[in-house]
């Protein structure tokens, strides 16, 4: 059975329908890349998965447990939403690190407040994760002392600290200088080797093609094309996908 099952998600802001009947599923250990132009609903979809937006209709199921059901208000209480968020992690485009905490403290803050272990356990977890993202020498630095790429890697470690079942990335390299995107993408690729289930909204077509197991192309709030990267990139069926991929290539 699929780890993540998204069914018929619909979301409107006022009169604008941003997501129209989105459905897909994801197996454990798979990496899903979501591509598409701005305003196609990619980010809103990711925000729905993290309950930063509540879908108007549809269900989100993780490991057989329905976390949210637009028709069932008991899944919509603040406390239920807070608990269910823990199934997902989210790495933001702008990192959103906590400026008053050191890199290590950023990673350990949530496990500490949620009492996910003894202080010693949490500390060693934090150090291990910082090592995993290659920042063992930056534990005591504050976010403003780190480069964008380093900040984003701390943000990844912070999201991993609660061992979410699905880790989501919202354009994780879009706010970075081109020379810094590589270090972040390498960390994400490293997570794939550890069988982390991930959803990555990205404009990095090469990355999507090489790392993803499945690619979704979104346009105007619907899934225009979905499939393994070879098919979506080499042999797209929809005219919209063809036009988008052509546009993305011809930029250079």
């Amino acid at each position: 059975m699929a780890l993540l099952e998204v069914k018929n998600i619909q979301k409107s802001f006022g009169k604008t329908e941003v997501l129209k009947n989105i459905s897909f599923s994801l197996e454990k250990g798979q990496v899903l890349a979501i591509i598409g132009s701005s305003g196609s609903g990619k980010t809103t979809l990711l925000r729905c998965l993290n309950f930063l937006e509540i879908p108007d209709r549809g269900t989100i199921t993780v490991g057989g447990k329905t976390l949210i059901d637009g028709a069932d208000s008991t899944t919509l209480s603040d406390e239920a939403i807070r608990q269910n968020r823990l199934h997902f992690g989210l790495v933001f485009q702008n990192f959103n690190l906590f400026p008053q905490y050191t890199a290590l403290e950023n990673v350990t803050l949530a496990p500490t407040l949620l009492k996910k272990g003894t202080p010693e356990e949490i500390d060693s977890l934090g150090r291990r994760l910082m090592e995993q993202v290659g920042l063992s020498d930056r534990l005591e630095n504050y976010p403003f002392q780190l480069s964008g790429g380093q900040q984003q890697r701390v943000a990844i470690a912070r999201a991993l600290a609660l061992s979410p079942e699905v880790l989501c990335f919202d354009e994780p390299t879009s706010a970075l200088d081109p020379e810094l995107t590589g270090e972040v993408l390498r960390v994400i690729r490293g997570l794939k080797d550890k069988d982390t289930t991930m959803i990555v909204v990205t404009h990095e077509m090469e990355f999507a093609r090489n790392v993803a197991d499945m690619v979704i192309y979104m346009a105007d709030g619907i899934i225009e094309e979905m499939g393994p990267p070879e098919r979506v990139f080499e042999n797209p069926q929809s005219e919209k996908t063809k036009a988008f991929l052509h546009g993305a290539q011809s930029m250079f």
């Binding site: 993290n50 309950f51 930063l52 603040d78 807070r82 608990q83 968020r85 823990l86 997902f88 992690g89 989210l90 933001f92 702008n94 959103n96 690190l97 906590f98 400026p99 008053q100 905490y101 803050l109 949530a110 407040l113 949620l114 504050y142 976010p143 403003f144 912070r158 999201a159 609660l162």
Partner: protein, 231 residues
């Protein structure tokens, strides 16, 4: 009167100024917080009420507010509480002006709480939505996010405007002499009236300057201590 005697006489008044300053801060700093939260409330009625209160308190002179607090209980309910308190404290504890000082403290606390609430509100609203969202996706509760993520950033941002208000407060204490509280300027005016000495009135400025100098250094240190991070 010698210079020393004048200094001692004025210093008695300055202690009253400091008392008004200290107690007002102690009351207004926490009282500003619920007012700030009310003015950001999603419930429209609460928001409207607190906006109107802040508008009134910031909109009329503090001196007038002192008069209102001091005289209105007597005029409306025929019970001049504050002059009764004056008498009570004088008879039982031989403390002068206690009722008047309490009236001043009430007026000052409300007034400064409203100013502080606007500074708090500005500080809280200036924190990016991303900070809250980062807390939410980590499964933190709203109180945890406020206490552990937002609060310190807010404090860092409000220290400079708060410093301004705090420095204004010590000078505003002079307004207490409108209901004849013996703060330092009232003391100096007393000397002018009874001993025909005008220079002590100008000399009071030295007291304020010394204290403001001390405050500036102290608040500067607080600001520096909080500058270890950038948000």
């Amino acid at each position: 009167m010698t210079f020393l005697e004048v200094t001692a006489f004025l210093f008695d008044g300055f202690l009253i100024s400091l008392l008004i300053f200290g107690v007002t801060l102690l009351c207004a700093v926490p009282l500003g917080l619920p007012i700030a939260f009310c003015s950001m409330s999603r419930i429209k009625a609460i928001k409207a009420i607190s906006k109107v209160i802040v508008w009134i308190v910031r909109g009329i002179p503090l001196m007038l507010q002192i008069f209102i607090i001091y005289y209105v209980p007597g005029l409306l309910f025929d019970t001049p509480i504050f002059s009764q308190l004056d008498r009570y404290f004088f008879i039982h504890y031989s403390i002068k002006d206690a009722g008047r000082i309490i009236a001043v403290l009430i007026a000052f606390s409300i007034n400064y709480a409203c100013y502080f609430s606007e500074i708090y509100r500005g500080g809280i609203e200036s924190i990016s939505k991303g900070q809250y969202e980062a807390g939410y996706v980590l499964g933190l509760t709203k109180p945890q996010i406020f206490r552990h993520i937002v609060l310190k950033q807010v404090i860092q941002r409000i220290v400079p405007p708060m410093s301004n208000e705090i420095i204004t407060l010590i000078k505003d204490t002079a307004l207490a002499n409108c209901i004849i509280v013996c703060e330092i300027i009232k003391q100096a005016k007393e000397l002018a009236a009874t001993k025909a000495m005008v220079w002590p009135l100008f000399y009071t400025g030295v007291f304020y300057l010394v204290f403001v100098g001390f405050l500036t250094i102290l608040l500067g240190r607080v600001e520096k201590k909080l500058s270890y991070f950038r948000s």
